[in-house]
Point group: C2
Chain length 344, copies 2
Amino acid sequence: MVKTKIKNMEEFAQASGISRPTISKFFNDPSSVRESLKTKIEAALEKYDYYPNFYAINQNRQLTKNIGIVVPYVSDPFFAEIARNLERRCIDAGYTPFLFSSHGEQAQENAILDTLRSLKPAGVLMAPLGRRSSDKIKIEKFCKNVPTILFDSNIEGLGAAFIGSDNHSFISQTVEYLNSTGSAPSFFEMRYPANPNANKRREAYLKIMNDLKLKPQVISIEGTGWEFEEIGRQGALKLLRKNEMNSNTILCSNDRLAIGFLSACSEMGVKVGKTKSCDLRVSGCDDNPYSRFTSPPLTTAAHDYHTVSDNAALALFELINNGGKSKKRPETLYSAKLILRDSA
Amino acid sequence: MVKTKIKNMEEFAQASGISRPTISKFFNDPSSVRESLKTKIEAALEKYDYYPNFYAINQNRQLTKNIGIVVPYVSDPFFAEIARNLERRCIDAGYTPFLFSSHGEQAQENAILDTLRSLKPAGVLMAPLGRRSSDKIKIEKFCKNVPTILFDSNIEGLGAAFIGSDNHSFISQTVEYLNSTGSAPSFFEMRYPANPNANKRREAYLKIMNDLKLKPQVISIEGTGWEFEEIGRQGALKLLRKNEMNSNTILCSNDRLAIGFLSACSEMGVKVGKTKSCDLRVSGCDDNPYSRFTSPPLTTAAHDYHTVSDNAALALFELINNGGKSKKRPETLYSAKLILRDSA
DNA sequence: ATATTAAATTTACACGCGTAAAATACTTAA
DNA sequence: TTAAGTATTTTACGCGTGTAAATTTAATAT
């Protein structure tokens, strides 16, 4: 059956024998029209080929049904998974998510903010790159105009709320576990990390080690960009060759570095695990989707992806329902769940 | 410095002392106005706080500068990486990419098509789920209205072009290599694969084995959804326990299954590699970003991510420049590059 | 300096829908 | 049946920009 092509809502209204304002109301909220008309409109939609014009709709709506999602790097499995979860929540709540990746670049993040501002979204869920302070001004200004919830990486005072993970708990649980089952870990990180959580994790490591009256060792490796596995691998190769570790236990700042570390160990014939015959214990942070498939499977501190996604989305929906205004700026931090696998 | 807030282009035109149509022309293409005015406008943009309204702009443009990118599942590292590359190309070419993930669901893919139709993009780059034939009708209709290039997974006759990989070359190169360096492989796949390329790969495997006058063995494992690693791991565990393989060499339909397979081997104490002391050789398909970090690193047939992305994007740009019309429907298939690592 | 050409301005309309106000039709309950 | 209340229709305007046509201004060539 070839459906009759319909140009606009006016034509569709005439074809279906219903007034245009009612059709408009229907598209805004199908339950806002009488049941009899609803079925009539739905029947007409089956019959005719009409798609409302996205631009015309949103130009005049005081509040669009679009939600912006911004992640620093879409190819990072952690952010891909978070983005996937957030999109689901938005869709299920009747919003249309628009996913943007900053590609690890400040300029791109700024461009996205401009695009988003222009998109007049009902709200935005944003994981900022959060490196330079000059960006803070841009984001600050953006948050004043658009209801925004920050997640993953906090920027003091910006947005209506922050949902993230308690980096301290990630590190403390892991260090305590490692220390009680063997030697305390050295901390393996990028010297210039792409993600600001890395700094909090280092600080947490130093604090815990100090609390436990243990001597910390921070191993900072070179490398920039978002290819963390390769950076971790190169760093680990160097480290293993020089043999400069104070400990036979390594805590990596994140799982992607750990995956690279494990790869280097495998290459160098270093046996990783917690049994006696092993040379090294390696653990990570994040519970990256790939961490359970490494060899040996990676012991790590897990984000609760679902809880973080759910609550970030819910916080945004609430913010939207309150007209984008909020008194407080709650910061919700979720604790890690230690996932014991075979690597440590 | 607090910039003066500007409501619309009219106000901005007055504030900067330039006529509105010229401002409009500038935003459309900055190089289309005289240098002196260009600098004047740019100076005004610095001074005043004006952002063109996305909806008003696109409502009247005959051709928007938006490009839709649709992938089946954004958390799949292959698609995440392809999406990242495609976004880059679009941005560099002056377009605004809008990335959508079908979340592995046909209903979602259909919803995206509706959203996209409504977004009136200049063009769309789409990797379809491509399972059911009923969807074909929806996509077919969409392609008639929107300039669309298909990639990764072909649907006969749809879209203005198809850019993908030559599944046959992926399999043939690998089988020939494996056969010449050891025993010919058994083929490890999902019984009901989420991605249609899997079927082509099985067919290619059967053909090559036949050509080489070898006895094929297809091992089809259960499991649905997009958690391929876990499906591969479970399937491999069963397989290894039953010990039903005809060969000590395994060719996995894709790297994600292979990663799961390697994980199972590690768990079962099966030593994977090509040296004499190893029990099994395992190889994959795709060169997933994680494949070089497995233990042992995975031998696989690689997509050329950059070439595929570049050419899909270029094909779309050309299509757009030709007014969305094309005579032929070229199908470009790129051959695999065999990546020899330690797993096989 | 004048003619020619290119660019900018003025004016005006269009795009497709949201939305408000007033008038009308329908539904529901007494 | 009637009145009250609710939903729908009619009418009309506004949103912020693209874009076309005619006119004016500026740049370039002669």
